[in-house]
Symmetry: C2
Subunit: 220 residues, 2 copies
C-alpha cells in the first residue's frame, strides 16, 4: 500500500448514515455533492481532505472492505464485528451513535410461557447466525439458525421458527408483528474500525484520524 | 399445514417488484393499500383473494421463506435459485420479467489482457459465492470468493479482488466504475416458485395459481 494512495473510509448505508454525517462534519470531513443521494450510481466520493475518500456500502460489507484492506477505516456496529469476528479489524473507538440492542424475541403468546433455562434446541431466524449460535451454545442450547437478510419479524407467524434474534431500537416493529423481547443478546453502537495492516504501514495518518474521531466522539 | 390457512405468496423487494405488480394485476390479484409503500412497517398484506396473502421480503429471502414452507409460493430470479439450490423448491414457470444476466467483469485495462483459459486461481467479489465457485471450478479454476451484499463494482479499484460476478442489466453501473464484462455466467429472469410439500398437501389451490400465472405470463 503506497503511502501516496488516498485513505478510504467505508460508511454504512441506511440506519446509521444519518448519524454519521454530522459526526464527519464535526471531524472536519465534508463529502462531495452526491454523497447524500441514496440512489446515486456513484459509490466512491472525494472529501474536503485531499487524502481521504469515502465509500458508501451496506453495513455488513463495511467490515469486509476493512478486513481485506480495501478500506483503511470504517464505521460499523459491534453487532457486525461480533458476527464476523475478523482478526484483521481493530475497533479502537465507540462512536456513541447507532445505539440499539440485539435481542431474542418471540410471539407474545409464547413468551409468557417461556422458561429459557429449559430450552435444549431452538430454531431461530436471524441475520446473525454466528452470534446466535454462540449465544445459545453458552448455556448448552443448540440453535438451528435460518439466515434471513430482513423481515425476520414475519418468520414466527409463518411457522418458520419460534424465535428471532434481531436489532431492536424502539420495539415498535416487534409490537407491530405481535412479538416481544425475551432476553437481550448485546448492546449495540457504532465503532470506528481500522485495518490492522494499514495502522502498521501508515501509522501517522491512520492514528491521526482515530484521534480526531476520539475528540469528536468525546465532545458529543 | 391445515388447508383453511391462507396461502402466502412471497415477493421480492427492489428491482423486480415494479414488474411483478402489473403481472399480479393481470392474474387478478390486487394487494391491500400500503403494499406499494416501500418504507411501511407492515410486512404482510391481504389481497383481493380471501385465500391469498402477500409478503414483501428481500430477494434472497424469498427462496428461504418458500424452501422452509413459510411461504407456499414466491417469485425469485434463477440467480437466487442457482445460488441456494434448495431441493424443497420447485420452479415450474419462467415469468419473463426481471431479465438480466450474471457475468464476470474486470477493470477495462485488465480485460484486454485476459485469457480466461490460463487462469488457475482467481479472487472474486460477489453476492453469489456458490455459483461463482461452481462456474470457475467447471474449467479447473479455483475461485476464492469474497461475499459482498452490494457495491461489488467498487472492489477491483480498491484492490479487494481482480474480478467480480454480478448481475448486469444495461452495463451502465459497470462502465461508471471502469469495468467491462469478460464472460457470461447465466441468463437471469424471474420464476414462479412453489414449496414442494405445499404442492403435495394442497395440490388444487397451488396448481390453480401456477396455471393462472402461466396464462398471464404466456399472454404477455
Amino acid at each position: 500500500m503506497p503511502s501516496n494512495e488516498k485513505l478510504v473510509l467505508a460508511l454504512p448505508k441506511g440506519r446509521i448514515l444519518g448519524e454519521v454525517v454530522p459526526l464527519l462534519r464535526r471531524a472536519g470531513i465534508v463529502a462531495e455533492p452526491g454523497f447524500a443521494e441514496e440512489e446515486a450510481r456513484q459509490l466512491r466520493f472525494a472529501t474536503s481532505h485531499a487524502g481521504l475518500d469515502l465509500i458508501r456500502v451496506r453495513s455488513f460489507d463495511v467490515a469486509t472492505f476493512v478486513a481485506f484492506g480495501a478500506a483503511h477505516l470504517g464505521v460499523a456496529g459491534n453487532d457486525i464485528l461480533m458476527e464476523f469476528d475478523y482478526p484483521e479489524i481493530y475497533a479502537p473507538l465507540d462512536l456513541g451513535i447507532g445505539r440499539c440492542r440485539l435481542a431474542v424475541a418471540a410471539p407474545a403468546e409464547d413468551a409468557t410461557r417461556e422458561d429459557p433455562a429449559r430450552w435444549s434446541h431452538v430454531r431461530v431466524a436471524t441475520k446473525y447466525p454466528d452470534i446466535t449460535r454462540r449465544h445459545f451454545a453458552a448455556r448448552g442450547v443448540q440453535a438451528e439458525c435460518i439466515k434471513l437478510n430482513g423481515a425476520m419479524e414475519l418468520a414466527p407467524a409463518l411457522g418458520l421458527c419460534r424465535y428471532i434474534v434481531d436489532l431492536v431500537q424502539t420495539g415498535s416493529t416487534l409490537r407491530a408483528n405481535g412479538l416481544v423481547e425475551i432476553e437481550p443478546v448485546a448492546e449495540v453502537s457504532a465503532r470506528l474500525i481500522v485495518n490492522r495492516a494499514a495502522l502498521k504501514t501508515r501509522p501517522e495518518e491512520v492514528s491521526s484520524w482515530i484521534e480526531r474521531f476520539r475528540e469528536v466522539a468525546n465532545a458529543a
